[in-house]
């Protein structure tokens, strides 16, 4: 009985437990860890990934997968930098989320009209989007050194980076959407039992398209923040971020079978991955072991959550 309750707790809060353990360990091992500067930097650096993971949560709850968000990020980076440079910097920042929304909608429409698994469809669209980004940028870097463009990634409000505020607002908004709106309910029902959702009169295809559109929007928004921060757009931006986002969602305990999950879990997953990275930096540990460690932590987290389900 007792051990069962502990397992249930671990399954639900494995990611938080691991964050706490890691934070305690890092505070003891290094004086430079538990400083406001370091913690705010961690949040700032990971705001784009956290935004993407938050939206990926909805895709996965609805029973899908999106492997193209890294490429949408690249498209967002290239278009926003080009427009900022050639048209208007503010428009450049605005256009990235719009491009993301459009490409995400394309994903959703492709998946539902061709009736293919989202995993396969987004592998293909990922290559297509990346390819377009390379062609548009001619394979070159697009530098944008203008204060009207870089404020989003570099300025602060109340001592905290604007990017972090954006990330918090986005995560809170998605949490609200998921838990308080009719759309959120439908997302859960599509992933939980699509047949029952259809028989309940829910147009499940529309719901799926909307989740992919949101994931695209998030990738575009994330790219605007990232490009603004480094004042440079390029087609190789965002490579591998799709897998990091999915890893963070799963690390948080959202079920890959759909129907169950929460946005805060995925943000916590991003934070856990970030702490591992940060630990390597401030401890001056051999970076060759970073991937190995991250992989082991992910394995441990999903192992705990699987054990809780028994």
């Amino acid at each position: 009985m007792n051990s069962h309750a502990i397992l249930r707790f671990l399954q639900d809060y494995a990611v938080l437990v691991m964050i706490v353990v890691l934070m305690i360990a890092l505070s003891m091992l290094s004086d430079s860890f538990l400083t406001p500067r370091n913690l705010i930097n961690i949040l700032n650096q990971n705001a784009p990934l956290a935004i993407m993971a938050a939206a990926m949560t909805l895709v996965i709850i609805a029973g899908g997968f999106d492997l193209s968000v890294g490429s949408i990020f690249a498209m967002g980076a290239v278009t926003s930098a080009w427009i900022a440079l050639n048209v208007d910097p503010y428009l450049g920042l605005f256009v990235a989320p719009v491009v993301g929304l459009l490409l995400g909608t394309v994903n959703g429409v492709v998946i539902t009209t061709l009736k293919v698994h989202s995993f396969l469809a987004t592998i293909a669209t990922s290559l297509i989007f990346k390819g377009i980004a390379i062609v548009l940028s001619d394979g070159r870097l697009i530098p944008v050194r203008m204060d009207e463009f870089t404020w989003l990634g570099r300025d602060r409000i109340g001592g905290v980076f604007i990017a972090v505020w954006v990330m918090i607002a986005f995560a809170v908004a998605l949490t609200f959407v998921l838990n308080k709106t009719a759309f959120g309910r439908k997302v859960f029902s599509v992933g939980g039992n699509e047949e029952a959702a259809i028989l309940s009169g829910i147009r499940t295809n529309r719901i799926k398209i909307a989740t992919f559109a949101l994931a695209g929007l998030a990738a575009g928004l994330a790219s605007a923040i990232a490009v603004s921060r480094i004042s440079m757009g390029q087609a190789s931006a965002g490579t591998g971020m799709e897998l990091q986002a999915i890893a963070a969602v799963i690390l948080g305990g959202t079920s890959i079978y759909g129907g169950v999950g929460a946005v805060w879990r995925s943000v916590a997953g991003v934070l856990l991955l970030a702490l591992i990275n940060n630990g390597f930096n401030i401890l001056n540990a051999d970076p060759f072991y970073r991937d190995l460690t991250t992989g082991l932590v992910i394995l441990a987290a999903i192992g705990i959550s699987a054990a809780g389900k028994r």
Binding site: R185, N193, G201
Partner: protein, 511 residues
């Protein structure tokens, strides 16, 4: 036959009992099945004939009693052990790999190999097997391309390749044409000639009489009689299936409907789902039943009415107005809803709590600017939980942990949330405990008394007769007659159904 009677039985079942999550479905079944006989298992829907077949084949575990197979005490009986002792089972849904060839399917798991590398002897082995058994199939044909009758032969060959001496066939003819049924019966006779035993589970009494040597009748999970087929006819079987002193369940009193006020009328509706010609009328406050045997297409007719499957012909009138281009959303909007039969697959989202399950079809009305009005939602859900006495009575309870009866109450409640005009109930009391069943019956009669029309589908004929004001008989996607529950009993209804079953239908090509 007669020379085999002296032999020890192939299967000896002693006092077999089976229960699923506390509900007993088989009790004290004692039965000998002889080598070299075709033995029929018959009974009403839910009498336990398939369950018994699956116990023999090792798919279900008997919670009590003993099973002896060719003199061996069967312990730890599972499909694998059963097969090792010569008992194979052929399921209603065939268990073949469609992309593989006939030969590959027949020898699956018993491939001829040396250190894991296949030897190309399959075609020869199959040839030999087919010569001795008398079946002929192209070894290289891909299974997906073959008609169902041929696929069944593959299942039989597969059993023979493992030297099965007893083959249990569970409702093998339900998707076969008349010609294919004859082929299967020939196959059974061949098996009998070789001294093998066939256990033939079916609700087609004509088929049972045509081919079996003996037949065992089950009723309400109990063994009623085992008879020599040559001594009996169809009426004897029907009588045994129904029994005399059937325990009468109490049903709530019926309130007379507003006969003149027709809520829904279907005129010869057809659909690709198998509905060929269904016509029915339901008045305000009327409970109308659909009675048919398993596979007769009752659910499909309901799906065609509600728009879950597209209709291809006929006309539907809702309160006198034609209702075309039906779909589920439009039907819900018009107050026509259907409670599906399969709670787990089609009914509830097990990952969502009770309240969210109930409100799922009604979110549009329960939300403003897309935000769910949780006060209204909670209020309505609480009312329904109280009304149905759902236990545990928790608004956000984890429905996947609820008992079948309470899940069913949540499911019915889900569809009553917006006070519909017409509710289609498909097997509303399947797999629920007695208490929940009574509560559901009361609710059905309450609803009708308050003016809601009900279309009731149930495999339990007495349930329909006990609750409905009128009932239609359904056979192969058609409504074939109407019965008055006041003037009919289970026997006369069943007799009528079997009469229709015997009549020929213009053949429809199988896809």
């Amino acid at each position: 036959m007669s020379n085999n009677v002296a032999n020890a039985p192939a299967i000896r079942a002693k006092d077999i009992g089976v229960s699923f999550s506390g509900v007993s479905v088989l009790r004290g079944v004692t039965l000998d099945i002889l080598p070299g006989e075709v033995h029929g298992l018959v009974g009403e829907n839910g009498a336990g004939k398939s369950t018994l077949g699956k116990v023999l084949g090792g798919y279900y575990h008997a919670s009590q009693g003993e099973l002896e197979v060719f003199g061996h005490r069967a312990t730890g009986w599972d499909p694998h052990t059963a097969l090792n002792h010569g008992v194979a089972i052929m399921h209603q849904e065939l268990q073949l790999v469609p992309a593989l060839t006939v030969a590959q399917n027949v020898f699956m798991g018993i491939e001829d190999h040396r250190w894991g590398v296949l030897r190309s002897t399959e075609a020869q082995r199959l040839d030999k097997l087919m010569k001795t058994s008398g079946f002929s199939l192209d070894p290289h044909a891909v299974v997906a391309d073959l008609p169902i009758a041929d696929q069944q032969k593959i299942e039989i060959l597969r059993a023979l390749a493992r030297d099965a001496r007893v083959i249990v066939m569970d409702e093998p003819t339900s998707s076969l044409s008349k010609g294919e049924v004859d082929q299967l019966h020939d196959a059974m006779r061949k098996l009998r000639q070789e001294g093998r035993t066939v256990i033939y589970v079916s609700h087609f009494l004509d088929d049972i009489i045509a081919v079996t040597d003996r037949v065992t009748v089950l009723r309400d999970g109990e063994h009623v009689a085992t008879m020599h087929t040559r001594d009996i006819g169809k009426p004897d079987l029907v009588a045994a299936m129904l029994g005399g002193g059937k325990t009468e369940t109490q049903f709530p009193a019926k309130t007379p409907p507003e006969v003149g006020n027709i809520v829904l009328e279907a005129r010869s509706i057809q659909s690709k789902n198998g509905t060929r010609d269904a016509s029915l009328r339901i008045a305000k406050g009327e409970i109308v039943g659909l009675i048919g045997l398993v596979g007769s297409g009752r659910t499909e007719i309901a799906r065609a009415i509600i728009g879950a499957d597209a209709a291809t012909g006929g006309e539907l009138l809702l309160e006198g107005q034609p209702y075309r281009d039906r779909d589920l959303r439009a039907s819900t909007e018009r107050g026509v809803v259907m409670v599906p039969e399969d709670r787990r697959k089609e009914g509830l989202v097990m990952t969502m709590p009770v309240r969210a399950n109930m409100s799922l079809p009604h979110l549009r009305h329960l939300s403003r600017y897309g935000v769910v009005n949780s006060r209204a939602e909670k209020k309505r859900a609480t009312e329904l939980i109280d009304y149905f006495q759902v236990r545990p009575a928790i608004l956000d309870g984890d429905v996947s942990n609820y008992s079948g009866g309470n899940q069913q109450k949540v499911l019915i409640g889900k569809w009553l949330m917006e006070n519909p005009k017409l509710v289609i109930l498909d097997e509303p009391s399947r797999g629920v405990d007695v208490g929940a069943r009574e509560r559901i019956h009361e609710a059905i009669c309450d609803l009708a008394a308050s003016g809601t029309s009900i279309l009731l589908i149930s495999s339990e004929i007495d349930e329909v007769l006990g609750l409905a004001h009128r009932a239609y008989l359904v056979d192969r996607g058609r409504t074939v007659g109407e019965v008055d529950p006041a003037e009919n009993d289970e026997a006369s209804v069943l007799a009528a159904l079997f009469r229709h079953q015997g009549s020929n239908l213009p053949e429809i090509a199988h896809e």
